[in-house]
Amino acid sequence: MIRIKIVLLIILVIILTISGFQLYHHRHYQIPIVAGPGVTRVLKLSHYLPSLKGSMADTWVFFLEGQEPGGKVLILGNTHANEPEGLLTALVIIENGQVEKGTVIIIPQFNHSASRFTRPGDGYPLFFEIPTSWGKKKFRMGNREASPLDQWPDPDVYIHYPERQLLSFLDARNVNRTWPGRPNGLPMEQVTFAAMELIRQERVDLVIDIHGAETMFPVTNCIVAPEKSAKLATMVSLTVKAMEKFDNHVEPSPPKFRGLSHREIGDYSEAMPFLLEAPIPFLDQPTGPKTERLLLDGRDPFLLRLARKKKLFVPYDETGWPMDKRVGQHLSVTLELLKQYSRRTPDRAIVIHNVPRYAEVVEHGVGYYFVNPSTVSPDKIYFN
């Protein structure tokens, strides 16, 4: 019996060592972010709340400033680190965008801790790779919530500040439930508070929070906007439909659902918030295996059958919802928001060049727009 126990113990140690190494590698893998020619300043989010300094919650903030003064926009990627279209969209702008007027501020990994956490029970791949002309660019696949290694324990129920609305205990680690945050709160509340400070101190006009949502979720393929942003969102929705031939309807931000960026940023600052959703079949429950391929091409036999039974909220066929299409939509909607806003308020205009739109990304693939980190000066590369 003792021999059997020793053998089992050795097997257990081997299993734990192999898997432990893989999980350690995931948490410590560094994604190089290349600061493109348009990047003028790079700060840490802790600049706006020093208590974040040195923690996993701290993250890079990239500034792309134009020669001419104008308005300011804040773009957030990886609010949910298992919706990577947000990160990829932000990186395309950071590496390529050049601002003529106004300022574009980008936080590509808003929930940095979540990007270094897997999702136990959900069988995600640890990494995904985007093909480029110079090889494959590798990314960590993260979680919706911050890692318990960085914020633990969870409360038995999360009570939103300051509205006192009861939310799921998991939402204490979800930065799209902790807005507007508080300076001495939980780490994720500090992250959103620091972002609110950035919005207030920099006098940001627009905030664009980029996400992905399930095809079976009614709030998908859309722009979520509160009352103050609704007109602009509607204009953008109609324009992209007419000019670029893709749907992106407007969803009103529910006033009684607290903690979300599209609700609290508008209520607690002068900025107009928008939350962009593109369909990400990988997150749907009735799908086949959760593979890197499903994440990238969004093709699934179960969803196809459900689409035929009219049980999805987006059009869906054999082509799926590829990553290029999702990123392309986000880029076009973002650019259109800046264009329409600049037209309405010329003194606060934001003009940016060199950022591809929907058709270009679908044609070339998102990887086409990533710069090879080995070809640029090391001082242009940032690791979170």
Partner: protein, 437 residues
């Protein structure tokens, strides 16, 4: 791809059945199902061979928090029992109330409902107050299997009761529906169904007189007093309530630390000297099967997702025609809970709520209705989490099925109420409006 997933599902079922046939424990059989499912999946690179160990280990952490709550809560209750506090509660409360039977039953029901309602876990109700309430029910002349049946149904209802309902919270988080307006849609049926359960199962006195054995034992612990028993509970509920009342001033302690703190208080206030660490070690040994279940269920859930089996099951549920679906809810929801525990809410519940929402059903009331059905599954194998705990705390030594059979009447009534709440969710939406004010 679909045929490949069906093959993997068959491999998992066969592995589980072989484990059972060879008389392995449920936990080992489930582990074999997960392991062989992963190996079968690896032939199709879902997951890749190199990822099998990582998926098993990562999945084993899915319910780590729940395991910590179980463990610390049980250590607390064991210390309280060893100190003689439980016997003291039974003796004193029954002395005061046993002559007014309906009142005694209602008080016992409320005692069981409170811990689960505050924490969202029926197991906490059983671990904290299960043993003394079981003794009190026996004192009222209720047999052990009926006592276990009452505790099982009430613990399940306590988990569904507001303010904290984990199934509803998981569904709300996954469907972006605010966790508000659940007070009446959950609270009203829980109180009514709880009263129905304790009166139907506990009204009849099955033995001739009160069970004096438990009461006699109290004499051995002369140093015990009310304040020694009540103080740890006051601290526990005080900590939970303090966070509700002053959420932005109180530090987040988490349930495991709160239970650990009150364990220390119970140990310090015990009238006799207790060996803290040996008691903790013995408690963990007793809990090992439950912990193993939660660990293996996490592994199984991870492998089912990585191989596509979870998606197949989810697809089948939402493909069912709506009328048939309503009828099958009575089976699908409890069975899914029995297999996956809280994971069932994510796997089946989220697409189900989206589907019902898209058809015009009221999501909050529908979630409340489903929340009444899920706890029933906690009595079903392979996990039978609450059922097994109910049997454990009531010291029932008969067969598991003889206990479960006793629950048939409240089970059917709860099922009917839960399904009707889903079907008529729109007509019951006034409960949500009244809750929100």
């Amino acid at each position: 791809m679909i045929s490949q997933i069906v093959v993997i599902l068959i491999v998992m079922i066969v592995a589980y059945l072989i484990g059972q046939w060879r008389h392995f424990s449920v936990e080992l059989s489930l582990f074999f199902a997960a392991l062989f499912g992963a190996i079968a999946g690896a032939f199709f690179s879902t997951p890749h061979w190199s990822e099998i160990f990582r998926h098993l280990v990562e999945g084993s952490f899915t319910y780590l928090d729940i395991i910590l709550v179980f463990s610390t809560a049980t250590i607390f209750m064991t210390i309280l029992r060893e100190s003689g506090g439980i016997d003291y509660i039974v003796h004193s409360s029954m002395k005061a109330l046993s002559k007014i039977r309906p009142l005694a039953l209602l008080v016992l029901m409320i005692i069981v409902l409170i811990p689960g309602a505050l924490t969202g876990a029926g197991s906490v109700s059983l671990l904290v107050v299960g043993a003394p309430v079981a003794a009190a029910l026996r004192h009222l002349g209720i047999s052990r299997p009926r006592t276990a049946a009452i505790l099982f149904i009430l613990a399940g209802l306590s988990a569904a009761a507001p303010p904290v309902n984990i199934w509803a919270m998981v569904l709300c988080a996954g469907t972006a529906i605010p966790y508000v307006g659940f007070e009446l849609p959950l609270g009203l049926p829980v109180i009514l169904l709880g009263t129905f359960t304790i009166f139907t199962l506990g009204w009849k006195r099955e033995k001739n007189g009160p069970d004096e054995v438990t009461l006699a034992k109290v004499e051995a612990f002369l140093g015990m007093s009310w304040w020694r028993v009540v103080l740890p509970f006051i601290v526990l509920f005080g900590l939970i309530l303090a966070y509700r009342l002053w959420p932005f001033k109180m530090p987040v302690l988490g349930l495991p630390l709160e239970f650990f703190l009150v364990s220390i208080i119970a140990w310090l206030t015990s009238p006799k000297k207790l060996p803290f660490f040996p008691i903790s070690r013995e408690t963990m040994a007793r809990l090992l099967p439950l912990i193993a279940t939660m660990v293996v269920i996490g592994m199984l859930q991870q492998i089912m997702t990585a191989t596509g089996v979870r998606g197949l099951l989810s697809y089948l549920v939402i493909s069912i025609p709506i009328i048939v679906l309503f009828i099958l809810l009575a089976v699908i929801i409890p069975v899914s809970e029995g297999i996956l525990t809280y994971g069932a809410a994510a796997i089946l519940g989220i697409p189900l709520i989206w589907y019902l929402d898209s058809l015009g059903y009221h999501a909050t009331v529908a979630i409340s209705g489903l929340s009444l059905l899920w706890p029933l599954g906690d009595g079903l194998p392979p996990t039978a989490l609450i059922g097994r705990l109910s049997v454990m705390v009531s010291n029932f030594e008969g067969s598991y099925w003889s206990f479960l059979r006793r629950t048939w009447l409240p089970w059917i009534v709860i099922t009917i109420v839960g399904v009707l709440m889903v079907v008529f969710s729109h007509k019951l939406s006034f409960l949500v409006r009244w809750s929100v004010g």
